[in-house]
């Protein structure tokens, strides 16, 4: 009986596909569904979907997890293993993976691995269970997690041995009794996926636990302003940093979306005396942001890290001010390349969430997206097994760091923080020039074949460092 049904089905499908193919090739293009293939190729599958979503909703489409565009050409940078010119690290020598954030602070933050969990807020982005799982995983591997733009979630504080809190544009963590309970303070002025755009979470999406943590009245929306409340000039920002450093003693940093104004932003941050800087590249994720802000705004992470490190070096701030890279760092290779370009540590968000869900994805698919297990408004948040999720993320982070250690061994390094630009080569001349990494297409002593200005015989004397930290003091302009 079954075989007969199968035979009949096969015949029906065969006949239908035959007819469809014949119609597709014989009908004029404009009358054929084949038109969709060419159109989708032109417009792009994601864009086609979002055109229809915009048409249906009439408002920006809150796309989750950031831009699908790959703006940082990480694949054009490769590490250079050693064999004889320098020897690989013997396998019995441990690779030091610990990193200190804000070494100048009275109470610096030292983590066992250079991967930190990115700021993803309770309520605005994630469920309470997801935040607790992230905190537990971070504690298991000896790293820090980040509150995101939220209030202080007691359960997260209890689960996280090291907690970085965002002094945020919503003002929800900006009170001394809250920020004094943090292990580092990150002043959040923007993010890669949204720039400094204001964001609003409607009261109808805010439950009692959200209201309590954020200190909101019933019916009140949660609003993230474009500016930090009370900070309307560079001088205000300088005073804020100094006050937070004096009051708490923990590292106080600045998080911004990476942009072409990067150096000017960093000049103010250095003037204020920040302990660390987080540059969030254009590939940064978010729980839901307008596609235009995600795809068309900012600076790719790779260039942002290289520029920030160059600037810190020119200001002689390297070693005093830590640099944290964020935005679209998905693989351990990308994370390590960001560190080689100058980051002291990296944030991971999207990859951490995917690892957190891990094999619990089967609870959601095929009828719900995997993120419905972890986002605050998700339908399946109660189904997330917190312990299983924490273990899953712990294994992911462990695997990532082990892969980084393997690269360190083949580079002949004994600490991840010792890996630098000299361990890389670039496959693209422009990238090589932009990042200060040697071009892999020609020998180190023949770089001037492609870059005549690097000819050792014509190289000018290096210029003395310039900038606000050296020479004339920075003028603190009013922001209008």
């Amino acid at each position: 009986m079954l075989r007969r049904i199968e035979k009949w089905l096969r015949a029906a499908i065969d006949e239908t596909v035959d007819r469809a193919l014949v119609r597709m090739v014989r009908d004029p293009y404009v009358e054929s569904t084949a038109e969709m293939m060419a159109t989708t190729r032109k417009v792009g599958g994601v864009n086609a979907t979002e055109i229809m979503m915009r048409a249906a909703q009439g408002s920006p489409v809150p796309r989750p997890l950031g831009s699908p565009l790959h703006l940082s050409p990480w694949e054009k940078l490769l590490f250079s293993p050693v064999h004889l010119c320098r020897f690989p690290t013997p396998e019995n020598v441990p690779i030091d993976t610990a990193v200190t954030i804000g070494p100048r602070a009275r109470r610096p933050l030292t983590v066992a691995i250079p991967i930190l969990i990115a700021g993803m807020s309770f309520g605005g982005a994630l469920s309470k269970k997801a935040k607790i799982a992230l905190a537990r995983a971070a504690t298991l591997v000896g790293t820090a997690t980040n509150t995101g733009e939220a209030g202080l979630l007691e359960e997260e504080r209890a689960a996280a041995r090291l907690l970085i809190g965002q002094y945020n544009r919503g003002g929800w963590l900006n009170r001394p009794e809250l920020y004094r309970r943090l292990d580092a303070i990150e002043i959040q002025l923007g993010q890669g996926a949204q720039g400094s755009t204001p964001q609003r979470t409607s009261a109808r999406q805010i439950g009692p636990d959200f209201r309590q943590v954020f200190g909101l009245a019933e019916g009140e929306d949660a609003l993230i302003h474009s500016r930090l409340p009370g900070i309307n000039s560079q001088e205000d920002f300088v005073q804020l940093v100094r006050r937070l450093r004096d009051e708490t003693g923990v590292p106080v940093g600045l998080k911004i979306a990476a942009t072409h104004h990067l150096e000017r932003e960093l000049a103010v941050a250095l003037e204020a005396g920040v302990d660390f800087i987080t540059v969030d590249g254009a590939e940064g994720g978010t729980h839901g942001g307008a596609p235009t802000l995600q795809d068309d705004v900012g600076l790719p992470t790779l260039y942002a890290v290289a520029r920030a490190r160059d600037y810190l070096a020119r200001q002689m701030a390297t070693g005093d001010v830590s640099l944290i890279a964020a935005g679209g760092l998905i693989t351990p290779g990308q994370m390590l390349k960001a560190m080689a370009l100058g980051a002291d540590a990296v944030y991971t968000g999207t990859a951490a969430i995917m690892a957190l869900i891990g094999d619990q994805v089967t609870e959601a698919v095929p009828f719900e997206p995997p993120t419905s297990l972890v986002v605050y408004t998700g339908k399946l948040t109660e189904r997330l097994d917190v312990d299983r999720a924490a273990r899953s993320l712990q294994r992911f982070l462990n695997a990532c760091v082990t892969e980084m250690e393997q690269v360190a061994v083949t580079l002949g390094r004994t600490a991840l923080r010792d890996i630098d630009r000299s361990d890389l080569c670039a496959l693209d001349p422009v990238l090589a020039r932009a990042t200060g990494v040697q071009l892999g297409l020609v020998a180190p002593d023949r770089q001037h074949r492609l870059f005549p200005e690097l000819d050792p015989e014509t190289l000018p004397e290096p210029l003395p460092p310039t900038g606000p930290g050296v020479g004339r003091p920075l003028s603190l302009e009013e922001v209008h």
């Binding site: 441990p94 030091d96 993976t97 610990a98 200190t100 070494p103 610096p108 030292t110 983590v111 066992a112 691995i113 298991l140 591997v141 000896g142 273990r391 712990q394 294994r395 462990n398 760091v401 082990t402």
Partner: protein, 93 residues
């Protein structure tokens, strides 16, 4: 506490920190060995323990790192005490 006692306390803290640093390094090595041993088995639960051993080794590495930094801070403190002590004994002008 007088400056001499402070100096002695700082020396004691520095010495104990160095001892903790050494112990952390040794324990980290042992945890790494455990990881290598456990990783030879094709058993899910043992592999879970192996991951924990590796995490423990890295965190002990971090303890070592922190100890080294604290030793440096204590040394700075000792220098400051010595400077203050020296200034205290300097003739007034």
């Amino acid at each position: 506490m007088n400056p001499e006692e402070l100096k002695t306390t700082c020396a004691y803290i520095a010495s104990e920190l160095s001892r903790i640093e050494t112990v952390a390094g040794t324990l980290a090595m042992i945890e790494r060995e455990h990881y290598n041993t456990l990783n030879r088995f094709d058993h899910r639960e043992l592999l879970e323990v192996a991951v924990e051993a590796q995490s423990a080794a890295r965190q002990l590495g971090m303890v070592k790192h922190v100890c080294a930094e604290l030793v440096q801070r204590v040394a700075d403190l000792q220098k400051a005490i010595e400077r203050q002590g020296g200034a205290g004994h300097a003739p007034a002008h």
